[in-house]
Amino acid sequence: MIAAPVEFFHLAKSYGRLQALRDLTLTIPAGAVLGLLGPNGAGKTTAIRILATLGRPSSGQVTVAGKSASADPDAVRRLLGYVPQEIAFPNWMSGRSYLRFAAALSGVEAKDRGARVESTLELVGLTEAGDRRTQTYSGGMRQRLGIAQALVHEPALLVLDEPVAALDPIGRSEVLELIRGIQGKVTVLLSSHLLDDVDRACDQVAILSQGKLLAHDSTTSIKERYGGPVFHVEVRGGAASLAQRISGEAWVEHALADGGRLTVVVKDPARAELELPLAIAASGLPLLLYRRDLPSLEEVFLRLVSSSAQAA
């Protein structure tokens, strides 16, 4: 199946007085891997459930390849592979038999089912454990089976709600590797609290807070637009005096010294590029390292979410 574009169009959802989603408009191009970020209660799972046809919007709509999730759920379900936040399988089924069941439900023809199940088991590394009952699987194996059941019918869109939250670092790395492996072939929407993982796996990021979309762009652009650059400096001796010297400058947002290391988050990158080297030279401290970086996704996320909370 060819990767499908997804469009959230003025989507809103309320539960009584609580507005879980407010006017969410967002386009995910076909083949993109989008990380959906937001604090608890931001509306991520609500948006995902509506996209997965498991919830209905109060207003607005979501479309996958032009098909509306509320008006034509069956068409969307045929395009969709979904991995929910809490994943469970019938305990008595083996991984292999569950994949056969999932493939049959998704309309994979009986003659193709065996081969499709085997190739999906191989993709997620569960070929040998395929005949074991799912109740004997570890958390990581269950998560991988969850991804396998979402991929077995070769969907155009893969939706993953916190797919790595319960996994150890090795399991997380395997799942992220899997996602990177299908990049471009399938559109992926990945919700996660683990910002480093989103940074590693996603080429686009959308940040939600209190049901509203705060930002959406490519991972690099969002860091440039909302984070501003960070300068990493290392000097011989203590960097505290240097931090103190530049802290009051108009181009500095904050400067943090840790031994000989100094991290400077700046408001005005152009002035910083001129002023910071001068300040280092004036301090008389021998310079060991000077590097301009983009901020981490975590810094951008925290900045956007805290300013949104202050505005509210």
């Binding site: 498991l54 929910p84 809490e86 399988f89 008595w92 049959a104 439900l105 998704s106 309309g107 059941q149």
Partner: protein
């Protein structure tokens, strides 16, 4: 979407689940124990009463007949097996939804109607097999201990029991679809079962339109003084009740899939 898309695959899964989890065995054991127990107890009832009464007291006990045994069989089959069915099916939808199993199924091109009906088919087959086994074994025992019961009325009684128990399954699935937990669903289903058993006794038109119109007349049926076309309305009414419950359950699943 077809209103029953995915039914065959879902029913296959439910039937395998019935076998693997031993639901068939539990139901068959409960049905057999209830049916055979009723017949045997009826046969030995005069002896039991005599033993319990002691040597100085004389109790006049009418001789038990095949009709008495069939009446006791119908009463017992309408009680313990119904409770067992509530226990076996109360988590059918509520627990799958709570554990997240339902989300994986219902995010596929599957209709809510097919999801509910597949569960009803599997539980209905458990009822059919358990009741058939109990009916055959009890018929044999009645013939052995008394004399053969008339086949036509006996079949009609069992048909009434079948519809009654299918209603119990449908009510339980509706409660399971509408409520958040299997235990709550079991409680509501129990109230539904008690209402289904008791309420028709207060209003004849209702009694004539529900399976209690057959199961409550076992003595007349067994004695051959009632039956035939009069039994059609209660049986059809019972099937309509099951259908309504299943439709409502499908609506509940559609509104809150997972």
């Amino acid at each position: 979407m077809s209103s029953m898309s995915g039914l065959r695959t879902l029913a296959g899964k439910e039937l395998r689940e019935s076998v693997v989890t031993g639901r068939w065995l539990i139901a068959a054991a409960v049905f057999m124990l209830s049916g055979l127990g009723a017949v045997v107890l009826t046969y030995y009832l005069p002896d039991l009463v005599r033993t319990q009464a002691g040597s100085g007291i004389a109790i006049a006990m009418p001789r038990q007949t095949a009709t008495d045994a069939v009446v006791a069989y119908a009463k017992d089959l309408d009680q313990l097996p119904a409770l067992a069915l509530i226990l076996l099916s109360m988590g059918g939808i509520a627990e799958e939804r709570a554990r997240g199993v339902a989300a994986l199924i219902l995010s596929r091109p599957v209709s809510a109607g097919a999801y509910v009906l597949a569960k009803f088919i599997a539980h209905g087959l458990v009822v059919l097999v358990g009741l058939s086994a109990a009916a055959l074994a009890s018929f044999g025992y009645v013939a052995l201990l008394f004399h053969p019961a008339p086949v036509g009325p006996y079949l009609l009684i069992n048909l009434g029991l079948l519809v009654m128990l299918l209603d119990v399954v449908a009510i339980t699935l509706l409660a399971s679809a509408a409520l958040g937990s299997g235990v709550a669903a079991g409680g509501v289903a129990l109230v539904g079962y008690l209402a289904l058993s008791a309420l028709p006794g207060f209003w004849a038109p209702l009694n004539n339109s529900l399976p209690t119109g057959v199961t409550g007349r076992t003595s007349e049926l067994a004695a051959g003084s009632w039956g035939g076309s009069a039994a059609v309305q209660p049986l059809v009414g019972g099937l309509v009740l099951a259908l309504v419950c299943l439709l409502l359950a499908a609506v509940a699943v559609r509104l809150r899939p997972a």
